[in-house]
């Protein structure tokens, strides 16, 4: 299981990376915005994408839309982990095809729950 973590704050990338490691996912890579993440996704064989929304360069929502529009990446499971909490934004992310939405600040428990749920659905 190869996972890409996209967040402009290295602290948050590290937190998510540590939580994922505790959950048994040790093969992770990092990117600091959508425009660096997209080429990595296109050239690497990632199984899962965890992304923030608000980032300089390409935002998480635009990254999600690019991923869904790319024939090779369209079915990649995407979890959004973000401080963006407007109802309209959550609806937009859902319509863009996000697989899970976690608002910051979050707990290890919530992150685990959402990831489990995504893979249950993907594998089921």
């Amino acid at each position: 299981m190869k996972i890409l973590i996209v967040d402009d704050f290295s602290t948050m990338r590290r937190i998510i990376k540590n939580l994922l490691r505790d959950l048994g996912f040790t093969n992770t890579q990092e990117a600091d915005d959508g425009s660096t993440a997209l080429p990595m996704l296109r050239s690497g064989d990632f199984d899962f994408l965890v992304t923030d929304w608000n980032m300089p360069g390409m935002t998480g929502i635009d990254l999600l839309k690019e991923v869904r529009a790319d024939a090779k990446l369209a079915s990649l499971p995407v979890l959004m982990v973000t401080a963006e909490a407007k109802r309209d934004q959550i609806i937009e992310a859902a319509q863009a095809g996000v697989n899970g939405y976690v608002v910051k600040p979050f707990t290890a428990q919530v992150l685990k729950e959402k990831i489990d749920k995504i893979f249950e659905r993907v594998n089921g």
């Binding site: 704050f9 590290r14 935002t59 635009d62 909490a85 309209d88 934004q89 976690v102 979050f106």
Partner: protein, 264 residues
């Protein structure tokens, strides 16, 4: 607005207007055209003087308001070159907050990552020793096994001593690292003060602009629509006063409810 912002100067001018109007009606009824002409002339002078005074006052107020922004800029260049301002000082402070919080978060995580294996190893060894200990209590242990157990316990106690010393040190370091809160707090308070000041100066400028409109008769009846903020796809970061707003979720449970209502 015009009536609300009457200054003594305006009142004086209006009083003069009313006075002159009455006099003018009187002299005209008496067909004293020379006097009437003189009154009209005085009236024009009074109006000019009033406008001159008003413009002078506004210019002074404008100057004060701009000086209060404390911007040291070379306006002869285009765009003006800002040498020094409280705004750029505030930016520096915010960058300082950013780097300090980042450093504190990194150091804290470094410390935790460094000592987490110690705690985990001690826990695991304690569990294994407990299993052996139970065997001993059930008298299921040979003399050789017992000797080995004594050695392991010796070793464990030593590890325990060293390990907890390291853990304690790291915990203390982590506490000290929280000092960033004090420093960033002071920097942020300064910035909050500046934002409040700038807001007040801007309101002053708006008031002056309003008076310019009154004096010049350019009063604009169309009040601009209150800046209504839509979210942009750029995102806007954590929502403030989330508990008092309907358009933002109040937590993960709210997100889950919203998503399940959308069929997730």
């Amino acid at each position: 607005m015009a009536n609300a912002s009457l200054r003594p100067d305006d009142e004086q001018f209006i009083a003069k207007l009313e006075d002159s109007a009455k006099q003018l009606v009187d002299v005209l009824q008496n067909q004293e055209y020379k006097t009437a002409s003189k009154i009209i002339h005085e009236l024009i002078e009074a109006r000019d003087k009033h406008i001159f005074n008003s413009v002078g006052q506004l210019t002074r107020a404008l100057h004060t308001a701009i000086v209060n922004f404390n911007v040291d800029a070379d306006v002869s260049t285009n765009p003006p070159e800002i040498k020094n301002s409280e705004i750029s000082d505030a930016s520096d402070r915010l960058h300082y907050v950013l780097s300090l919080t980042q450093a504190a978060a990194d150091k804290t995580m470094d410390k935790v990552e460094a000592v987490a294996p110690i705690a985990m190893n001690l826990g695991q060894e304690a569990q294994r020793l407990q299993d052996e200990w139970s065997k001993l209590k059930r008298r299921e242990m040979t003399k050789e096994q017992f000797k080995a157990l004594v050695l392991r316990i010796d070793e464990f106690l030593e590890q325990m001593g060293d390990g907890t010393t390291q853990l304690n040190k790291s915990l203390q370091d982590i506490i000290l690292e929280q000092g960033f809160q004090d420093l960033t707090g002071q920097a942020l308070k300064k910035v909050i003060e500046l934002v409040t000041d700038v807001e007040r100066e801007l309101v002053d400028l708006m008031r002056i602009a309003g008076q310019v409109e009154v004096v010049t008769g350019l009063a604009n009846e169309d009040t601009p629509e209150g800046a209504k903020r839509e979210y942009s796809s750029q995102g806007e970061g954590p929502a403030m006063h989330a508990d008092k707003r309907d358009d933002v979720v109040s937590g993960q449970d709210d997100v889950d409810d919203l998503l399940s209502s959308l069929g997730f």
